[in-house]
Symmetry: C2
Subunit: 442 residues, 2 copies
């Protein structure tokens, strides 16, 4: 059991804030919010003081690429396609080359750990990682204790030939990942498998159909990049005669609730389509800015009833896995885009980063309620940058809080960070090892 006592401010969700309550966790679930009497708890209960603290749902990062933890701070001046060619492709090539030649997969465990450490230290408790299929990647999440979704990246066209796995091997690998890692939801697994067709233009129609069949068969979520750049939209019109989301709909790919990443250049018709098909758009404001991709029409999407989750994207195009900064920039960008300070509220983006993200990721968390998974964070608002006289807590979290204010993180009923120290793995040793091994990849 974990008891958080006398919580000064409990943010149950964007609209419900309580003060001066206790919160009790048993196993991996929240079992009580209110007053907890000493007799109710076992002697082994971990007691955490909530005095002067804000307790909130952990953040959901609905899109990232953890392998880019090894590519931080590289190139800030090239468009998406050249950036792929100069920054990500050479690294991917080196990883796959070594994996295929010698089976060496340690690097995957290390980048996955690096990303997990950064996310926990900024208050992220669950995420979707569209990544290469190295067995160490989800293993790291189990070891550190973060909730992760492996959305295995699937491609069979457009990318360099040496990245393309033979069709049977791709299918075999995908089925093996599902078998190894997709645990039953009623077991509250830390790891889920989603299918991650990289983008409509990098997958043949045959591959997309096969993906949809597997998603149906194993009841899996699907995430894909859609309409990130205007180039992609033109390319789609030229090759399949339709805009990307319209094309996906035409081949029945929206029959399951898709997570459409970016959606920067969705047309008005596609926004209506996303609302009808219950497609969730994942907004990655900082990445879209850095790559000069454009400003996603989030205000239009919300008006049309499209659900919007929040993602950081990978750290080669962001370069942080920080939900506070991502929320801030996400709101600010919508306000300036329409020169309208009322365009998107702090409350709305907080909902995207918690409850909406959790629903899209099929995780029973994102709000603090009895019966929900115990995925939550304890924030210390006592530094000068959080000084708040009579302000509301949600705007304070969105506009003033920093990752470094997160002191304690609980995921699946386990304390994974306490007073800013990761409790489950040796953070320094991992950083040293990642540097050593990373450097051998050039």
């Amino acid at each position: 059991m974990i008891l958080i006592q006398q919580i000064t401010t409990l943010v149950r969700d964007a609209d419900r804030v309580e003060h001066g309550v206790d919160l009790l966790i048993n196993g991996n679930r929240i079992v009580r919010i209110g007053r907890v009497e000493p007799v109710e708890i076992s002697p082994e209960t971990t007691v955490i003081s909530g005095k002067g603290r804000i307790v909130a749902p952990g953040f959901i990062n609905a899109h990232t690429h953890l392998y880019q933890s090894l590519l931080k701070g590289r190139r800030d001046d090239v468009p998406l396609v050249s950036w792929c060619e100069q920054v990500t492709f050479p690294f991917v090539r080196a990883v796959l080359d070594r994996l295929w030649k010698s089976g060496d997969a340690e690097i995957g465990y290390l980048w996955s750990m690096l990303g997990a450490i950064e996310m926990i230290k900024s208050g992220i408790t669950a995420f979707i990682d569209m990544d290469m299929n190295l067995p160490g990647v989800p293993q790291a999440w189990c070891d550190i204790g973060i909730r992760g979704i492996a959305a295995m990246s699937l491609v069979d066209q457009w990318v360099p030939n040496d990245f393309i796995t033979a069709p049977e091997k791709l299918r075999e690998d995908t089925l093996k990942l599902i078998e190894d890692w997709n645990q039953k939801p009623d077991e509250d697994p830390l790891v889920q498998v989603f299918l991650g067709p990289s983008a409509p233009f990098t997958c043949s129609e045959g591959l997309l159909s096969w993906i949809l069949e597997q998603a149906e068969r194993y009841d899996l979520g699907i995430q894909t990049h859609v309409s990130e750049t205007s180039w992609e939209v033109e390319h789609s019109l030229e090759t399949v005669g339709k805009t990307p989301l319209a094309y996906l709909d035409s081949i029945e790919f929206l029959s399951r609730p898709l997570l459409a990443v970016h959606g920067v250049h969705l047309t008005d018709e596609e926004i209506e389509l996303a609302a009808e098909r219950r497609t969730t758009v994942v907004y990655n404001p900082k990445s879209n800015m850095k790559l000069g991709s454009g400003i996603a029409p989030i205000v239009k999407m919300r008006r049309a009833g499209v659900e919007v989750a929040l993602g950081t994207d990978g750290t080669a195009s962001n370069d942080l896995l920080d939900p506070f900064e991502e929320m801030r920039v996400g709101v600010l960008l919508q306000k300036v885009a329409g020169e309208d300070p009322t365009a998107l509220s702090a409350r709305e983006i907080f909902r995207s980063a918690t409850a909406v993200g959790a629903r899209a990721c099929r995780i029973d968390a994102g709000t603090i309620d009895v019966g929900k998974l115990a995925d939550l964070i304890v924030i210390d608002p006592s530094e000068a940058h959080m000084f708040n006289l009579g302000g509301e807590v949600i705007p304070a979290l969105v506009y003033c809080a920093k990752g470094s204010d997160v002191k304690t993180v609980i995921i699946n009923g386990r304390v994974v960070m306490r007073d800013r120290t990761i409790t489950t793995v040796d953070e320094r040793a991992i950083l040293r090892e990642a540097k050593k091994v990373g450097e051998t990849y050039g």
Copy 2:
């Protein structure tokens, strides 16, 4: 003397990076960069290890309003004029009312301290504060040891009548501020006085002429808000028949090098004018985004040869005094504005936040060179979010570093923060007092 030994990465400016050097400070100046022998230092020398650290120039925040340290996290959904009416004006009214009735000025000292603490803890070593003229405001900077410029806010029209001081009193107060606080540059003062006409539309032509005269007489810098919103441009065309900067030029107000804050809606002609008149524009990207004011044409300005400094603006419209986040957002916003990832580089914004800001603020710092003022910061890049394999240091600082990575801050040759503890004042006591006193202002 202060010796920083074996600095792993010394960022002298945006273009010069050295490794493995020592840095020696004597009095308030940098006296040696290179190898310092033990015999050269006195026994009382403070020795700081630079191993594994990045040492860089302290950041210059070229525009803020520290009184807003008491207004963080309030309202996120109103345009500039309503925001003034609902957020800042009531507070200003309460402060002035109490000041004029009972001479109570403690609140100024407290907000000034709150802002200074937040800035030091994020790596800012100097700033311009356009603020109310309360004597405690610059006193706080002397006590904590930060370099500050009091740009006394001057208005005589447009704002509510009860904010307007009688003309003689305004002049008298201004001259008293100059007499009390404007120290001679050759004494390396911590405090300078600038004149801060709030905006062209809030000052009569008579007041602006008087301000220019005083600036000439005492050799003072001038900072004013210019073309923050499209409303202001229309209002200017209606009232004086010219756009704001063109109007200022027509009354000779650009004859001294002005710091023009915002410049979001400068016309192409005004950008040429700014270049000719050596007007420095202060870019405040986050504030312009939050208030929905627009995107400043920084790329055009740079092409025309206009110098651009960086500011956070006040914490009611930002709501952080964080140079790392401001640099990041400033670059990202320019990249997305033109859908061009090459629009503005990390190097360029770093220069704005250091060397360009220092020059505009008439401070002999902003780069790390022998003879310069010892205003510098020591950064710990060892957390996972700064993990950097073979990347360059400037992009890593701009895209990955956080305020919390700044461990030690030296201003004017004095260690004001060491290992994240402010050494000069009792931070906790100030926060408690600010809360207590702040709450009496409603």
